[in-house]
Symmetry: C2
Subunit: 199 residues, 2 copies
């Protein structure tokens, strides 16, 4: 039987917020230097200048701290991508790329610390679902797609994330607009040929 969720013990004091911020920053800094899974709680609290018991008063464990950072990131991504909602774009590629550049430091840390995978998985799943719906709603009359829509959706998100990773690995010398241009050039002809949908 799991005890009461210690996360509920998070208070809203200014000091608390400051402490959490210090811990998050320490984890990010450490991930730039070493793999996430080799980082110890001791290293985090030393770097943050925070007592051991304070750490555990705020987070269940190291994983909880990471998830908390990621959740904040994904929330901010959602703010960029969702509000226009229906019809504004089929694929929010440029919005996503701009968001990534804006939060470059954190994404870079996640990559260097080899903790980016769950984030990509989440993005992949959400985008894929969203795109599949949009595609289905725009299918022209006439011949059925020659490749199933879920495969096409997976394809589109796969391309976007592959370009994103390539961009991030190379420390993002190109602009988001440049990347988005590559993305559309690569994706448009295939989607047109297989489904008839114009992106």
């Amino acid at each position: 039987m799991p005890g009461p969720d210690r996360r509920e013990a998070r208070r809203d004091d200014r000091r608390s917020q400051r402490t959490r911020q210090l811990l998050g920053a320490a984890l990010v800094a450490l991930m730039l230097e070493q793999r996430y899974d080799t980082i110890t709680v001791q290293e985090i609290i030393d770097r943050a200048n925070v007592g051991r018991s304070t750490f555990y008063a705020h987070y269940l464990d190291k994983e909880d701290l990471l998830q908390s950072e990621i959740a904040a990131l994904v929330t901010r991504l959602g703010d960029h991508v969702d509000p226009g909602a229906e019809g504004k774009w089929i694929i929010p590629s440029l919005e996503l790329l701009r968001h990534v550049r804006e939060h470059y430091a954190l994404y870079r840390a996640l990559v260097r610390g080899r903790a980016i995978e769950p984030v990509l998985k989440t993005m992949q799943a959400q985008l894929s679902r969203q795109i599949e719906v949009h595609l289905a709603g725009r299918l022209p009359p006439g011949p059925a797609p020659t490749v199933p829509l879920p495969v096409v959706a997976q394809y589109i998100t796969g391309v976007l994330l592959a370009l994103f990773q390539w961009w991030l690995d190379r420390e993002m010398p190109e602009s988001p607009e440049q990347l988005d241009d590559y993305f559309l050039q690569l994706v448009r002809p295939s989607v047109r040929a297989t489904t008839g949908v114009e992106i």
Copy 2:
């Protein structure tokens, strides 16, 4: 100062081989049940019925065992993909998909245990290099590519690995040939449009 590499202590006795096989199989079995990083050495040796000191006589640690399994896998992949070498195909997609299906058990374990990422990274890097060279050698005269070749190469491998992951996540109901057909339908129009190369 690191001591002498204990990996050199690996003997070539039949018993040794059997032991290593047992340990590898135990790790794979455990990865089907839980994340790689939550698995303990104790669990591995219990599952394999092997003594603690024997484990450390063969491997430096858990990571070393995993790397050893992955290395064997990648070697076998190379056997499938390299021999024809130059000119046989531009992208060894069907060969790769067949290889994956052949070693389904291990790939599935790597996915479930969340240890597939380094394997994909390796594949991505190798394929991408190979494909870029092949593309460069087949560029038609006339206008330069509208998307840089490294980006196109990254795109192609990204698509292949995205489809591969999708396939694997769904437990591979389709045949490798079917997947390869999807892959080519999706990739061909874009590569033609951006580089003029016919795949």
